[in-house]
């Protein structure tokens, strides 16, 4: 069972943990004239680590739990959460046809967004992709804890295993990433574009440049090395090397 502790000295009473916890492990409490958060139902903790990542003071300690990302995609976790929510999740109750419709709508939105980029910002599109990667880095705090590029890549590999499953190779110039395939592959294929060369793919490759650069301080440039029938190899060269 997970154990949750708030280090009281660091707590600023922002209540982010209270708001984010799906099973109400925390409650706000007034101590003299200060508001603090208290752990009141540690036995209900699912170990989703939402509180750990939400806490701006980093004073929530969750122990005896295994990092599972993304938590809500694992069937047994969905069932566990349902017990508390006493309702079925939307994703469990929709039919295959509805899934297909939802997929098609998301795909259409993504490809349209991507295709608007070169129309409006032209060659500046690469900078937009890179910036989005830099901004995404703050959502992956676990990768900041890694000391080197190898560690960062391992961390991202674990985090992205359900959506952008990849193998990597650190090279003299930077890193080669083999996607097998990434979640965008089918989206691009269905839109009639060429996977790897499509605008959405280019944006994603520049996103990776920004993301990895944010963690290791490198300045990466992306280049499609190979677009195989079912996967792409993206070469990220660090211009600082």
């Amino acid at each position: 069972m997970s154990e949750v502790v708030i280090e009281e000295v660091g707590c600023r009473g922002c209540s982010q943990c209270v708001d984010v916890c799906p099973v109400d492990v925390f409650e706000p409490e007034m101590v003299e004239d200060h508001q603090l958060a208290r752990v009141v139902r540690t036995e209900d903790c699912l170990g989703c680590l939402s509180c750990y990542y939400a806490c701006p003071s980093q004073c929530v300690v969750v122990s005896d739990t295994e990092l599972q990302a993304p938590y809500y995609r694992i069937e047994e976790n969905i069932a566990f959460v349902e017990r508390f929510l006493k309702t079925k999740t939307v994703s469990k109750s929709i039919s295959d046809a509805e899934w297909d419709e939802a997929y098609s709508d998301v795909a259409m939105t993504l490809t349209s967004l991507a295709k608007a980029m070169p129309d409006i910002v032209g060659r500046g599109m690469k900078a937009v992709g890179r910036r989005s990667g830099s901004l995404a880095a703050s959502h992956l705090p676990e990768a900041y804890e890694e000391r080197d590029l190898e560690g960062v890549l391992k961390s991202l590999q674990n985090r992205f295993k359900y959506c952008f499953d990849f193998e990597y190779q650190v090279t003299e110039e930077g890193v080669d990433m083999d996607f097998k395939p990434c979640s965008l592959f089918q989206v691009v294929k269905d839109s009639g574009d060429e996977p790897g060369e499509a605008v959405l793919c280019q944006l994603f490759h520049d996103y990776l440049s920004g993301l990895i650069g944010a963690f290791d301080g490198g300045r990466y440039r992306s280049k499609l090395k190979e677009a195989a029938p079912n996967c792409c190899t993206v070469k990220l060269d660090n211009v600082l090397l």
């Binding site: 129309d119 409006i120 910002v121 032209g122 060659r123 500046g124 599109m125 690469k126 900078a127 937009v128 890179r130 910036r131 830099s134 520049d206 300045r219 440039r221 211009v239």
Partner: protein, 121 residues
């Protein structure tokens, strides 16, 4: 002298020749900072990204409305001017000047700098 040192020398010369110039930055068209003589509080990475996007937008609108290649982008604010000019196929010069700067002198300085930078980049 390395290439970066030569680029920095050109950028420093702009500031020496024109005291109204507050800073000069060279960025790559894909949004990476290359060299900079600018106030320390500037976020180079962010400036590089914005400059690349602005240059890209300028190129698009110039092509769309005039059917011609864009030569320069000028942004005027209450506090001064920002001039963006392509140096080569891959690099952009971003120049910041205060509101007292004479536009003619700034453009002259930009042209000079581009001539010198083109030989280096």
């Amino acid at each position: 002298m390395s290439r970066v040192e030569k680029i920095n020398e050109v950028l420093r010369a702009i500031r020496v020749n024109s005291p109204d110039v507050l800073g000069a930055v060279i960025v790559s068209i894909d949004g990476l900072p290359i060299a900079s003589v600018a106030p320390a509080e500037l976020d180079e990475e962010l400036i590089a990204g914005m400059a690349a996007a602005l240059l890209g937008s300028g190129e698009q609108i110039s092509e769309e409305l005039m059917g011609a290649n864009m030569q320069q982008t000028l942004v005027r604010s209450e506090k001064g001017l920002i001039v963006l000019n392509a140096v080569s196929e891959d690099a952009v010069l971003v120049l910041l000047a205060n509101k007292n700067a004479k536009l003619g002198l700034i453009f002259l300085e930009v042209r000079r700098a581009i001539r010198d930078l083109a030989a280096v980049i």
